[in-house]
């Protein structure tokens, strides 16, 4: 346990002493603010149109603007995550191997599990900190909507994005443990993430039972429930198994470095 904490502390220090954390947080904030603004304008315009229509027809408006904004915004966040996580994870092991510090870690009385989980939790923490400023817009959405939007939607959205991000970070860590080259790690992680993203579309068209399986395997399919404010157990199980699987694979891969020619 002391080893896990020491690794976690070191990784967080590394993010925040170097410009890494600030660049990530800053860029993520700028992009998410820009898109939030875009979504806000578009949805408000749409809601005015709906109101006009309903006034002409004489029927009550059937348009939940705040929920619409939230869903669009979390959808957008997931796309940003797809681009940000490979960059966040590409150096996680590659850099240690290149610098020779992996040799220090692996000859210290700490387990591979401590190393892997410490690093994973640190990357997840940076990811959570990166998301934190966006909560300001969302809290504003909840408080200023009329009638007040349920908090549950907000919490489900963030739970979803953390699980989605955690899954991609676990995948990225594993890829980084396989290669010394950071660029290769980033490209493979991005491609693999994209693949399990679009696997959903393949499944949707086929309609067979194989298609259903493919749909279940897609990371984004499960995320959609969360953005609607629904926390589904099967989705929770999906994300947790995904993370556990890749953390386990990373532990095995780090352990196997001992057997490969260094």
């Amino acid at each position: 346990m002391h080893g896990l904490y020491a690794i976690y502390r070191k990784e967080m220090g590394h993010y925040f002493v170097s410009p890494i954390a600030y660049i990530f947080i800053g860029l993520f904030l700028v992009l998410s603010a820009f898109f939030f603004n875009l979504i806000l304008t578009a949805v408000i315009k749409e809601s005015f149109q709906m109101e006009m229509q309903s006034m002409q027809m004489g029927a009550p408006p059937n348009f939940d603007a705040p929920a619409e904004i939230m869903r669009a915004f979390f959808g957008l966040l997931s796309t940003l995550v797809l681009f940000f996580t490979p960059i966040l994870t590409m150096s996680i092991y590659a850099e240690e191997r290149k610098r020779g510090t992996m040799e220090l870690l692996m000859t210290s009385p700490i387990s591979e599990f401590d190393i892997v989980l410490g690093k994973f939790l640190a990357s997840l923490s940076l990811f959570a900190i990166m998301l934190l400023p966006t909560a300001a817009y969302m809290i504003f959405m909840v408080l200023r909507s009329e009638p007040m939007m349920p908090w549950r939607m907000l919490l489900a959205g963030y739970a979803g994005i953390l699980l989605l991000g955690g899954s991609l970070l676990a995948l990225g860590s594993f890829v980084s443990s396989l290669t010394e080259n950071q660029l290769i790690a980033a490209v493979i992680t991005f491609s693999a993430s994209l693949f399990i993203w679009v696997i959903d579309a393949v499944g949707r068209d086929s309609g067979s039972s194989a298609g259903a399986v493919l749909q279940y395997l897609s990371v984004i399919r499960h995320y959609e429930d969360f953005t609607r404010g629904v926390i589904d157990t099967s989705s929770l199980i999906y994300y947790f198994s995904f993370i556990v699987l890749f953390v386990f694979l990373t532990v095995r891969s780090v352990d196997s470095m001992r057997w490969r020619r260094a």
Binding site: R9, G13, V17, G100, E103
Partner: protein, 319 residues
Amino acid sequence: MIEVQDLTKSYGDVKAVDDISFTVNKGEILGFLGPNGAGKTTTMRILTGYMPATSGTARVAGFDVFRDSMEVRRRIGYLPETPPVYPDMTVEAYLDFVARIKNVPAERRSARIDDALAKTNLEDRRSELIKRLSRGYKQRVGIAQALVHDPDVIILDEPTVGLDPKQIIEVRNLIKGLAGNHTIILSTHILPEVSMTCDRVVIINKGKVAAVDTPQNLTSQLKGGQKIKIEVEAPERRLREVLAQVPGAGRVEIDPERAGERLMVVVEASQGNDIRSEIAAKIVENGWRLFELRGVSLSLEDIFLELTTDDATHAQSSS
């Protein structure tokens, strides 16, 4: 303290370490001497638990390096070939991190860090970022890192590489100072380093142990013979004949580039025979002009080359 038995490490068909055995006693400094690629680093990596051996056993303080890896790792401080430092950390933060992963209890941590900084003369650099340090200082940080948890065994892979002569002397003194309380293995391909710091030497070549002894014994006993250097004006063929008649004289080498003028000759004398006066007498007898005649004892360097040069190439050069 350290027992290595029939240790072998293969990478595919290549044997990096081939059936080596040696022991290191408590408090001793053992030098690991060999040309680059002889298997020094591989042996050290096996001892530190970084990689498993293909066969054979290695024990540190009674614990098997593979089966009781954690127990072994607790007791070892290790400086790999390149100092394993994080450039973005300060020296102090780095040592604090290493102390934590080496399981140094919180209450002893700052005292241990101060001690390691003092021993490596880094006190005035403690708040500096490692990336701002010179090569020599980085190397010292690497050594400090190996000492921070006060391990029983310290393994240093080429600890003086990249240091200037003054720093090399400092590091050697530091290593000598550590002996007694710690058991030390250091590797090097620099010969004087071994005679200056080590109690015993393992000469390793192509993965095999070529010799194990004290530096003194290696110089005096293993190749106790002498070489005699002669500078003389004489006809080459005749000189060879005359020298061959001197009892106790061995191989005669004449620098071919200087043939015709004064000859530079090296005569190997067999063990225990001082043949200098006899050679001098023979030269005078023939009426040749003698300019220099002196005995040279074989240095560790010669022994090293002798032991690590292929038999094939050796036979070629002597024929």
